[in-house]
């Protein structure tokens, strides 16, 4: 009994050194990293918090923020925040639909639900003029609750590119069923598992009005238009559960790191090969999927494209941004930032990811090895490895001043990362 009464006093005392150590470890350089681990010279601050499931994000010329929520909160699926100094406050919300896509181009805000794409005209202060009357430009995309988000990006010719994820892991007869084989001539590919191109200014376009721009992409969440070589780049979420579904062919350890999460440079008509193949980032080869007769070694995939960069498995790339700003040091210019949401199907092996990666580029091509740019979103090592990450990076955007914004769809936090040499 005595012990019980002492505990409340002893525990906080014990916690102090632990706290000091953890703060010291997290912030080697300065206190201004908002709990993140960043390269030296960079700072981060939390501009907004507790917004809900903050997915993709767009920053206006005035530094204001539009963020898309994965679940509408109080009937609002898009939040508009006004930024003063390093804080942003919610001005209003609109668009009562769930979704992921959010992009600003040529005086319009574009947003996607899990079935449709909308746009809203902006005034000269980049405020939405008519929040309750968007123009619906694309309608009726497939949503079968698996890989349902529709990410969007625009090119410089009035076209919008929309991802339609496959409602399946590997096109098995029975999705995610142990040992179930692949469906012949995978029928999913007709209306999902690819990228569609539509006109950015035409109303009510259906599949048939668009161009089936790229095929064989299982699920894309992060995508961006590379301004240097005027080309679409996408990050594919590679297939899950090699060991669970084919335990005789793959160990849990192999299954935890394979297959790769791939960055692809996309041209019209490209096929990335899902579900028939996956990319093995250790062997640097396209491997025949076990559902289609593969044994973990047989290669396949003639006529399919190779990745520009192959990352370790299951890290879940949800945001891609080519950095065109002038604030960061020169080496970042035109390189790619990728927000990795963090793994789940590495279990029972430890989970990984929950960070923002930088991939250097030169002349529109990857140049050198990728590196972790911002880490520490997950919290402690235990929180990270058990999959109980506190924050999970998702959307990326660049401010007019060259700052990098990162959303977190778990706690609804928006981080702003700046270079302050």
């Amino acid at each position: 009994m005595k012990n019980n009464r002492l505990l409340p006093f002893i525990l906080p005392l014990m916690a102090i050194p632990a706290l000091v150590i953890s703060i010291a470890l997290k912030n080697p350089s300065s206190a201004d990293t908002a709990g993140l681990i960043l390269p030296s010279g960079f700072e981060a601050n939390i501009v907004a918090d507790n917004l809900g499931s903050a997915r993709h994000i767009a920053i206006t010329k005035q530094g204001d923020i539009y963020v898309k929520l994965n679940r509408a909160k109080n009937g609002k699926g898009i939040l508009y925040l006004h930024q003063t100094g390093d804080k942003a406050t919610v001005v209003n919300g609109f668009g009562n639909y769930a979704g992921t896509g959010m992009y600003i181009k040529n005086g319009y805000l574009y947003a996607s639900s899990n079935e449709d794409v909308y746009r809203y005209k902006l005034n000269d202060k980049d405020e939405v003029i008519n929040p309750n009357e968007p123009e619906r430009i694309v309608v009726g995309l497939l949503n079968r609750h698996e890989h349902e988000s529709k990410s969007i990006v625009l090119d410089n010719n009035g076209n919008i590119y929309v991802n339609v994820g496959a409602y399946s892991n590997s096109c098995q007869e029975k999705d995610r069923q142990k040992g179930s084989m692949g469906r012949k001539g995978c029928p999913i590919l007709d209306s999902a598992g690819g990228i569609w191109e539509f006109k950015a200014d035409k109303l009510n376009q259906h599949y048939g009005d668009g161009i089936h721009y790229a095929k064989g992409l299982r699920n894309v969440v992060g995508l961006d238009w590379n301004q240097q070589d005027n080309q679409l780049f996408v990050m594919q979420h590679g297939r899950d559960q090699l060991h669970d579904l084919f335990p005789d062919l793959y160990t849990t350890q192999q299954s935890a790191i394979e297959p790769a999460e791939c960055l692809y440079a996309i041209k019209e008509g490209d096929n990335a090969g899902w579900p028939y193949i996956y990319y093995d980032q250790e062997k640097h080869e396209k491997i025949l999927a076990p559902e289609y007769g593969g044994d973990g070694r047989k290669t396949a995939g003639e006529g399919t494209i190779n990745p520009a960069v192959a990352f370790p498995g299951h890290l879940a790339p949800d945001g891609l941004l080519f950095y065109t700003g002038n604030q960061f040091p020169e080496r970042y210019k035109n390189g790619a930032f990728i927000a990795f949401h963090g793994s789940w199907n590495r279990a029972p092996e430890p989970q990984a990811g929950y960070f923002v990666v930088f991939q250097p580029f030169k002349d529109g091509r990857p140049d050198g090895k990728w590196e972790v740019f911002a880490d520490g979103f997950a919290g402690t090592q235990t929180q990270k490895e058990s999959g109980n990450a506190v924050h999970r990076p998702c959307g990326l955007a660049q401010g007019l001043d060259g700052s990098l914004y990162v959303t977190d769809d778990n706690k609804g936090t928006i981080y702003k990362i700046s270079y302050k040499k």
């Binding site: 014990m14 899950d240 335990p247 029972p348 999959g387």
Partner: protein
Amino acid sequence: MKFIKFASSILFMLIISTSLKAQIKHSSRSSKVHLALSIANGKAVYTQNCATCHQVDGHGVQNMNPPLIQTSYVLGDKTKLIKIVLNGFNEDVEINGNTYSNTMPSHDFLKDQEIADVLTYIRHSFGNKASAVSVAMVKSARGATKK
């Protein structure tokens, strides 16, 4: 936190071992041992077949795979629970206030004993406390499911 966990687990072990001793005296030993064995086997089945999606500690994955902690499915009707494992589950229902987009496949390839063990395990883990699932129940649920 760690200290509390440590202290309470020691306390827990003490209580268990004393109560086990008492149990032995009262000769309901075999049922206790049976339960412990079922939980231990169930944990292995869980790690192999369920942990990928529901995670080692049963908390699931945000928006994708639901938690197995204090849900009406885990704690509720055992026949319904057995059928989730046998037939899979893709109903897009709200589970503790959220929806989950992934598909749970059928696990009818598991033996009756394995299903009984894994369900007994989840009903005794992750903070859940509910009665064991028997092989006989799985057998009869499987019989009813067969076309």
